[in-house]
């Protein structure tokens, strides 16, 4: 369980988040939504311990993450950034292995078990055929799958993603989110992702955090948060909320005139 207690965070004295309290249950699939620049990534990075709030604490399983050692934390919670800049291209299998770092540490070599885990995860994310390729030769969708694989070999219960699919086509978006859903449902992982695409959020997330003006405007089940009143207010656009005829999940349709 992740317990965020009254955190405030500011960059250079400009307040980004103010007095935010949230509780994420285990095995939930959380989407963090809100306007550009509202602090979605900031909130996510605070949960990961990458940013330190000016006030408040965050607890994972009742342990203060800012008092937990980084190595221990890295075995509990992992992070998939939007992209990684590859100035030097690594081979896919090396790159995925980097995710085992919390277990291998500075001096050790990967063991048989590490290789086995990397192999299994590459199977799971369907990138086995790319194993010997260089990262720079891959397409955007393949890169994200490799990045996901790297995050998964960390074998953490909580997985955080920062706009992991926002530059992908809808097919690849679906692939990544289906994998996340399977991780969530079959492997009991807690997933927290910032996301712009409200329809993806509506389809896959169990709960949604709607951030607005430094605060949490709404937090709860997808159906509860994706109501036209809040969404119209936050995004300043007229919308219709429909239901996906197949999955019965909410669909947000913007009205442009």
């Amino acid at each position: 369980m992740i317990d965020i207690k009254n955190i405030s965070l500011s960059y250079d004295k400009i307040i980004v988040l103010e007095d935010i309290s949230l509780k994420f249950e285990e095995k939930s699939f959380i989407g963090i939504i809100g306007k550009n620049g509202v602090g979605k990534s900031t909130l996510l990075k605070s949960i990961l311990g990458l940013l330190k709030p000016t006030k408040g604490n965050i607890f994972i399983d009742d342990e203060d993450i800012y008092k937990t050692s980084k190595n221990v934390l890295a075995k509990k919670i992992s992070f998939m950034p939007q992209t990684i800049q590859f100035d030097f291209s690594f081979s896919v299998k090396d790159f995925v292995m980097f995710g085992r770092y919390p277990y291998i540490n500075m001096f050790k070599l990967p063991t048989k078990q590490d290789f086995q885990i990397v192999d299994d995860i590459m199977d799971f994310t369907q990138i086995k055929q790319l194993k010997n390729k260089n990262i720079n030769e891959l397409s955007g969708g393949e890169k994200q799958k490799v990045l996901l694989a790297q995050t998964l070999v960390q074998q953490t219960d909580i997985i955080c993603l920062d706009e992991a699919t926002s530059h992908l086509d809808i097919g690849n978006q679906a692939t990544i989110f289906k994998l996340l859903k399977m991780l969530n449902e079959k492997y009991n992982k807690t997933i927290i992702t910032t996301i712009h695409d409200l329809n993806l959020a509506g389809e896959f997330c169990s709960d949604i955090v709607l951030l607005d003006n430094k605060k949490v405007l709404n937090f709860g089940s997808t159906e509860k948060v994706l109501n036209y009143k809040d969404i119209e207010k936050v995004y300043n656009i007229t919308i219709l909320i429909h239901t996906n005829p197949v999955s019965k999940k909410p669909v947000v349709i913007p009205i442009y005139n």
Binding site: S69, K70, D87, F88, S89, C160
Partner: protein, 330 residues
């Protein structure tokens, strides 16, 4: 296994080049005489040439090559910039400044210890400059490179200033030093530098894992449990110390730190755990070849080794770029 084979092959090449280098010079010494002199005893003349003149110099070339190449790898990986090298961060500028003060004011003539000492202090001065600026910025790669470039500019204009107010006869030896030269060093320094650099290189070679992780960027490496800014700080200090030591001994040898890692990348890829030891050996081989050329081609005149490294390395690198045009990664 393939890698191990490559590594052993590289070591064999190093040994061969070592023997060739030991044998080349003005006086003709046979290979048997050389080994006799190295491992047993021989007549005084051969002993002087082999054990006292050539051997220290060859060892210095091997150590300096390994040290520069290794710190080059570290800087490129940690700063995530293919153009970073030990000198991007202003270390050579600082060393050049210290040494040129020594030459210009005649301090170097007082005792052998002053030239390396001043070079080392100058290098530390610029390392300190970069360190202090960046300690508040959590060792962000962009700001490190920028402050290093700034330090380089400041110190190189300081060198020009010192040169402009000193007399021309002092300028010549200062110039030779600035272009890199393995004939200035003193034997007494050799042991200290050799042991220190070798230990540091071994440490760095073992740190390939963490350099890989840091090259993924701050956020990713922190989320993998690495204290990135602290690790970058120590890696930076360690590699800077290696470079400062080498520079204070042999002057500014450009190119090795920048290009050797890139040349090695073409053969073993970018995984730093593998790249580091390979780069170290490649650097040794390369610098040893360059030094042998520099002292034999137009003997007894010596060409500054920095000139040779740049020419050979530059052409070799262009050749590699053209050959593997499809797979260029810089």
């Amino acid at each position: 296994m393939k890698l191990l084979f490559k590594f052993i092959l590289l070591l064999i090449v190093l040994v061969i080049i070592f023997i060739i280098s030991m044998l080349s010079g003005i006086s003709d010494i046979s290979i048997i005489e050389m080994f006799k002199s190295l491992f047993f005893s021989s007549d005084e003349n051969t002993y002087t040439i082999i054990n006292q003149i050539r051997l220290p110099r060859v060892i210095l070339a091997i150590v300096a090559g390994a040290g520069l190449a290794c710190s080059g790898c570290v800087f490129q990986g940690v700063l995530r910039n293919p153009l970073a090298d030990p000198f991007t961060l202003g270390i050579s500028g600082g060393a050049a400044f210290g040494a040129s003060i020594g030459f210009a004011f005649g301090i170097t003539k007082l005792s052998w210890v002053f030239l390396p000492l001043l070079g080392f202090c100058g290098a530390l001065l610029s390392v300190g400059f970069v360190y202090i600026i960046n300690s508040k910025k959590e060792f962000d790669s962009n700001s490190m490179i920028l402050s290093g470039v700034v330090a380089s500019y400041i110190f190189s204009s300081a060198v020009m200033l010192v040169f402009s107010i000193s007399s021309s006869d002092k300028l010549y030896s200062a110039f030779m030093w600035l272009m890199g030269n393995l004939s200035f060093f003193d034997d007494r320094l050799l042991y200290v530098v050799t042991i220190f650099v070798i230990i540091c290189v071994i440490i760095l070679c073992c740190l390939g894992n963490v350099i890989n992780i840091i090259s993924l960027g701050n956020e990713k490496s922190n989320s993998l449990g690495v204290n990135t800014s602290r690790t970058v700080k120590y890696l930076f200090l360690l590699s800077s110390l290696i470079t400062a030591c080498i520079v204070s001994c042999c002057g500014v040898i450009s190119f090795v730190g920048l290009m050797i890692p890139h040349i090695t990348r073409k053969f073993v890829g970018n995984n730093n755990r593998i790249l580091m030891p390979f780069s170290a050996i490649t650097g040794s081989i390369f610098l040893l070849i360059c030094d042998t050329i520099s002292r034999t081609v137009i003997a007894p005149i010596e060409i500054p080794i920095g000139v040779i490294t740049s020419i050979i390395g530059g052409f070799f690198f262009v050749f590699l770029l053209l050959k593997k045009a499809g797979k260029i990664s810089i």
